[in-house]
């Protein structure tokens, strides 16, 4: 049991999965000082993955989605309060309303929010919404309960695809519009993108790829339809905007931290960088808002919107916040995520977009049971399973050991070695849906500074 090298006051900004698990890990690791959690939403931490699945299917009420406590954290909970700034010199967090919270160490876990529809007037129409919070999910499931004529899903990333699946599960007509060539293509590349497109169509989704929504149209303040870039028109009374996530870093503007649209950069030990790329020693970061270097991916800075990353990184950050020097640990977990849609369990390990080739190593799209393995310059960098989760840990070991790509063709369900094809990962700018894994480049030790300006 590690003792606490560093007592004092810890403030955690962000009271969702990463903030909660960090608080629990701090106490598990023996931190006995004062602990404060600040959260913008007014409800205690809750689990987001069920919002686009069980909640939309009507199995679970949004109000019943929470996170079980692993242990008591003996913290002050400041919920429903925005943090508006950090003063690194005086070590205080500025809260909305002017209050200043002093800290000895700070954990930033402010996560992401849904990217809004770019036209505020259209976004304000009744029936137009995004899905990120429990309140969003409650609203959307209410709209679905009312039996809309058609639901329009804008963007076919994981969230958009899961919403489309829930709509079909409820027997609702649904149109999915995606600027890119296929659903999920931003995260999984061309082969599984094509698989996802066929899957959606087989389940009765009206899928339109290579198309954008040019305007949402309302009557009496309610959504009635949408116009598409190909001249098409859709009548719909619900539109779910699934354009990916925006990192909650604006509150750090002017703080001197290396925070921007792509997240807050940190070292492998979760210590935040300042704007000059110098590592801080009392500001830590974890979860969706973090950009961190990963040795398996050439030390590029990764931004992950992954449940498992939030948990693992929070645990490492918490450990390092109360440990000195050599006792600190790196955050080396292999990225992993899952999605369930259209009755299939899709799981990923590694970073599928960090690839140049892909091979269906087991099963086949026709069986709807497969493992796709991704390679980059001759080594295995990712694997995605569809209804073959039991095989995935084998491929995780191949990723961890930088095993040669393509992997050994001798598997129990193969008689002929499969042929790798280009992985066809598109430029994210060509997609409606933001990828949930982003290689954000720009190593922190670069001598020059490249200022990334906020979009729009």
């Amino acid at each position: 049991m590690p003792g606490t090298d560093r007592p004092g006051r810890i403030v955690v900004v962000g009271a969702s999965l990463a903030g909660l698990r960090a608080a629990e890990a701090l106490r598990d690791n023996g931190f006995t000082g004062e602990l404060t959690l600040v959260g913008e939403e007014d409800r205690p931490p809750y689990d987001r993955p069920p919002l686009s699945k069980a909640v939309l299917l009507g199995r679970v009420r949004a109000a019943d989605v929470t996170l079980p406590a692993r242990r008591a954290v003996d913290a002050r909970w400041r919920l429903g309060v925005r943090a508006e700034g950090v003063d690194l010199t005086h070590r205080t967090v500025l809260l909305a309303g002017g209050e200043r919270l002093p800290y000895d160490r700070l954990l930033i876990a402010t996560g992401t929010r849904a990217r809004p529809w770019p036209h505020p007037g259209e976004a304000a129409l009744h029936g137009v919404l995004a899905l990120r919070t429990a309140a969003d999910a409650a609203l959307l499931s209410g709209l679905l309960d009312a039996g809309p004529r058609r639901v329009l899903v804008i963007g076919a990333g994981f969230t958009g695809s899961e919403i489309a699946s829930a709509c079909r599960g409820r027997g609702l007509d649904v149109t999915v519009v995606e600027r890119g060539p296929a659903p999920l293509v931003g995260a999984l590349g061309g082969t599984l993108g094509a698989f996802a497109a066929a899957l959606q169509r087989a389940h009765g989704v009206d899928l339109r790829c290579g198309v954008t929504v040019t305007s949402l149209q309302g009557r009496d303040g309610r959504l009635v339809g949408a116009e598409l870039s190909d001249g098409g028109r859709i009548e719909a009374d619900v539109a779910v905007v699934c354009l990916g996530a925006v990192r909650n870093t604006e509150w750090l503007d002017g703080s001197g931290l290396a925070a921007g649209p792509r997240g807050l950069a940190c070292d492998a030990g979760c210590r935040a960088f300042d704007m000059y790329g110098i590592v801080t020693d009392d500001v830590f970061v974890a979860g969706d808002v973090a950009r961190f270097p990963h040795p398996l991916f050439e030390y590029q800075l990764l931004s992950l919107e992954h449940w498992g990353n939030a948990v693992a990184q929070a645990e490492v950050a918490a450990h390092n916040m109360i440990s000195e020097g050599p006792r600190r640990r790196p955050h080396l977990a292999v990225p992993a995520f899952w999605s369930s849609q259209f009755g299939l369990n899709i799981k990923s390990v590694g970073v599928p977009t960090f690839s140049d080739r892909v091979v269906i190593a087991q099963g086949s799209p026709a069986e709807r049971r497969l493992v796709a393995v991704y390679g980059y310059r001759g080594r295995v960098t990712a694997a995605v399973s569809v209804n073959r989760a039991k095989s995935l840990e084998y491929y995780e070991r191949l990723i961890e050991s930088a095993a040669p790509f393509p992997p050994d063709p001798a598997t129990t369900d193969r008689t002929v070695a499969p042929t790798p094809v280009p992985s066809d990962v598109p430029d994210p700018r060509q997609l409606s849906h933001g990828p949930t894994v982003a290689l954000t480049g720009h190593l922190p030790d670069r001598r020059g500074l490249a200022l990334v300006r906020r979009e729009s």
Binding site: A361, Q362, G363, K390, Y394, D413
Partner: protein, 410 residues
């Protein structure tokens, strides 16, 4: 002693009561090549990796010499069950068998047996009442799972003794000792397997078109997206379920009571709080797993483990019970701790071939231990170690004599 003889020492009947020091030796070696060209594996990490490795086959046809490695009966003329084939065939057969047994098609079937399992267990436990000496195996641990699996499949009560006799012969055939009456036992096992198969086929045929609510009826009449089991597939699946349905749980229950009688504090704890029994069952599956090793794996290509290349086609033997006590995975791995947390054991294997009947075994063992602890009054072992069954694979006591304090019960 050289690791080349490790497997012989493990299978030697003299080691049956306590094979664990040999398993420790195996973990030390990590990969132990045997004189006959087979390979033994026993650390947690290596066993976990190989159970999930798609290059490892469960089909003996992929073995260079199908008879190498020992322990396995020679192939007979019946088609293999799903435990002896690979995906996608394994997946298809298993999915078909799962449809009437569990989720997603029949999620509540096993849970729905709780009342029946409890009724049988209470009846058997009640028959122990007032007897100052019992044999836990013959009086309880054997008849319980036999009654449950026969009831589930739809075997009429009057046929159960015949089924029991066939099973005994079949299991004996799994346990071949070089130099002893091997041929006679092999022949008897084959005859028994044929007899049981013909019997179950007849039973299934009689249910075709006349479903009576049991598993055999469902297997015979079910038609899903994967089609149906052919009569041959149905026959071997039924034989598998019937044999596996009682030859493993009997050991789990018996090993469980033996372990609790050796650990009176644990026994008292569980008696006081039956809510702890499910966790204790998982610890038992780790500590004294009913299936000690998997003798039926074969690499499809040269596979490297701990710097040793295991050649394609070589017999690969995964010693689950050794992995379950790996000190690199578990603190105080040789200690039985009914309150242990974070148990990930190989008591039911792992990966695609994980035990089909695990949920049934869990239910039976939980109910069995709960009812035994309630019924037995100050139980004590008559002999320790008890006499063991011959098999090093399905390891467990043949008899477990227990004395109760006189005047107890009622």
């Amino acid at each position: 002693m050289p690791p080349e003889t490790l497997f012989r020492r493990i299978t030697d009947y003299a080691s049956r009561a306590d094979p664990y020091p040999l398993y420790a030796e195996l973990r030390e070696a990590r990969v132990a090549r045997q004189e006959d060209g087979s390979y033994l594996i026993g650390t947690f990490a290596d066993v976990a990796a190989l159970l999930h490795d798609p290059r490892i086959s469960s089909d003996l046809h992929n073995r260079t010499d199908p008879r190498a490695g020992g322990l396995l009966p020679p192939p007979d003329d019946m088609p293999p069950s799903f435990i002896g084939v690979d995906d996608p065939e394994h997946d298809r057969l298993r999915r078909l068998a799962m449809r009437p047994f569990g989720p997603p098609h029949s999620p509540g079937r096993i849970d729905g047996l709780t009342g029946e399992v409890t009724r049988i267990a209470r009846e058997l436990a009640g028959s122990l009442d007032g007897r100052d000496r019992i044999d836990l195996v013959d009086d309880f641990a054997y008849p319980l799972p036999v009654g449950v699996i026969c009831g589930l499949l739809g075997v009429p009560a009057e046929d159960v003794p015949q089924v029991h006799a066939w099973t005994e012969s079949i299991i004996a055939g799994f346990d071949l000792t070089p130099g002893q009456d091997e041929e006679a036992r092999t022949r008897a096992a084959r005859e028994a397997r044929r007899g049981m198969a013909a019997y179950l086929s007849g039973l299934a045929e009689s249910r075709r078109g006349h479903p009576s609510g049991d598993l055999l009826s469902d297997l015979a009449n079910d038609h899903g997206p994967d089609g149906s089991l052919t009569p041959g597939e149905l026959m071997v699946t039924a034989v598998l379920l019937l044999i596996a349905g009682h030859e493993t749980t009997v050991n789990l229950i018996t090993n469980g009571m033996l372990t609790l009688l050796r650990h009176p504090d644990a026994l008292a704890l569980l008696r006081a709080d039956p809510g702890l029994v499910p966790g204790a069952v998982e610890e038992l599956l780790r500590y004294e797993p009913p299936v000690q090793l998997l003798p039926q794996r074969t690499p499809l290509t040269d596979v490297e483990v701990a710097g040793v290349t295991i050649p394609r086609g070589a017999p690969l033997i995964l010693v689950l019970a050794a992995a379950n006590r790996d000190p690199l995975r578990y603190e105080n791995a040789d200690r039985f701790d009914p309150l242990r947390r974070d148990i990930q054991h190989f008591g039911f294997g792992s990966g695609v071939h994980n035990c089909f009947g695990a949920p049934l075994a869990r239910l039976e063992t939980r109910v069995a231990l709960t009812e035994l602890l309630r019924a037995l009054d100050a139980p004590a072992l008559v002999e320790d170690p008890p006499p063991y069954r011959r098999s090093p694979v399905l390891r467990g006591p043949r008899h477990l004599l227990i004395e109760q304090a006189t005047g107890g019960g009622a």
